[in-house]
Amino acid sequence: MGYLQVQYEKILSDYLKNQSEENLYIGQNYIRQLIQKNITPEEVINIHKQAVEQLHGTLPKYVEHAYDFLIEVMVHYGLKVKEHQSLLMKQEELRIEMDIATKIQNLMLKTNIPKLNQIDIGMVSVPVRKMNGDYVYFLQDDGHHVSVAVTDVVGKGVPAALCMSMVKYGLDTLEYANNNPSYVLEVLNRIIEKSVDDSMFVSLFYGRFDVENNIFTYGSAGHEPAFYYNAKESKFYDLESKGLLLGILPEVKYRQSEIHLNDGDFIIMLTDGVTEFRKLEELDSRQLIRDIVMKFKHLNAQQMCDELYKQILCYQNYQLEDDFTVVIMKK
């Protein structure tokens, strides 16, 4: 401290003799040392007070008291600044942890889009925050069935992501792609009801495509209805299925239905992040999606998903409001 005091006296005295820019610049460089050495604000004012006393001689009482007052209040100010810094550091730690968690989530929930000659599949899933509350899972057995689960956890961020790993675990235990959608939903409902917090609900659309017979069988647990496009009639149908959300009641039965897919037909499965956005409350968002898709139905399934995402993002002013997930299966 002695050395810092002497240095400050010199800089201050130079400045008092000549109020030059150079002396101000030197003063600012000096402050950098104080920060490095963690000198508190009250200490800085004390250094200044002592320097003034040294250069001027004894100060008038009221000036001295004014300095003491400033020292006193600066103790509190310094503490608040320190607290703020420490919170910023904590925030940074959390951010790093979050990045790691996101990487783990992406790794854990990674799913590969099946490549088959008989059916063309495309997908886009974009989280609104770091961690995704939507989840798509594909299952495939040796050429007979392809299954897909499109999931949305009610809620966002870390809690939703943790809940999602439960769903993934449930789907993993089912193992085979040839399970009936109603059976899959019943098993998942039991797992989620037992192991996840009461405030967490999951909606899920499960579809299974029978590759040999071109039959798409589906069931839904409170999920946004999928679209089915019939190419021959050039008409859209809603694949509605009024099942309860997963995780509410222990023993719930789920219905399943089936449709036959012909060439040019496709199914669009999505989460409510695609259909619900504030800006267009008065507008029928499902009609909007139908209109967009009609324009791009000549493209392959992946390109259709990409275009739909681009268009909806544009409608939402490039600021997603919810996790966005769409899967298209095209015959």
């Binding site: 009250e42 200490e43 004390n46 003491d68 020292i71 006193e72 103790v75 509190h76 503490l79 608040k80 320190k82 607290e83 703020h84 420490s86 919170l87 904590k90």
Partner: protein
């Protein structure tokens, strides 16, 4: 071996009394103006905690002398609700960042040593020390 003074904290003005007594003692021991301000601020925070959370308690100020060095110790004792999770009060938190109080971690920064004991339903005891640098 040491002198003690006790200030009862019941009203907000008792916080001021405790600060004053602490400052007088710190000055008599030979602490610099800056350290006096720090000690008074630390006492102020402990007394404010008693006033806000326990409604009543004592601030005990004593002079310390050992191995040729001198210092000051302040003990805050209350029979308030106590603190269930001591770890949480020893960390900076967002909850007090907006308030006028600076919290236990800040008090620790002002002093050389801080000890805290607490039992839920029984009360809390915080002891802080600062030694005179030579």
């Amino acid at each position: 071996m040491s002198e003690k003074s006790i200030v009862e904290i019941v009203t907000e003005w008792d916080i001021v009394t405790a600060r004053q007594q602490g400052r007088n003692e710190a000055k008599a021991i030979g602490f610099t103006t800056v350290d006096q301000a720090r000690i008074a601020t630390a006492i102020s925070e402990l007394a404010k905690n008693i006033y806000l959370y326990a409604s009543e308690g004592d601030i005990i100020i004593e002079r310390l002398e050992e191995n040729n060095r001198i210092g000051i110790a302040i003990t805050a004792i209350d029979k308030g609700p106590g603190i269930a999770n001591l770890q949480s009060v020893l960390e900076d938190s967002f909850s007090n960042s907006g308030s006028s109080s600076v919290g236990i971690p800040a008090v620790k920064r002002l002093m050389d040593k801080l000890e805290i004991e607490s039992e839920v339903g029984k009360g809390t005891k915080v002891r802080i020390e600062k030694w005179l640098k030579r």
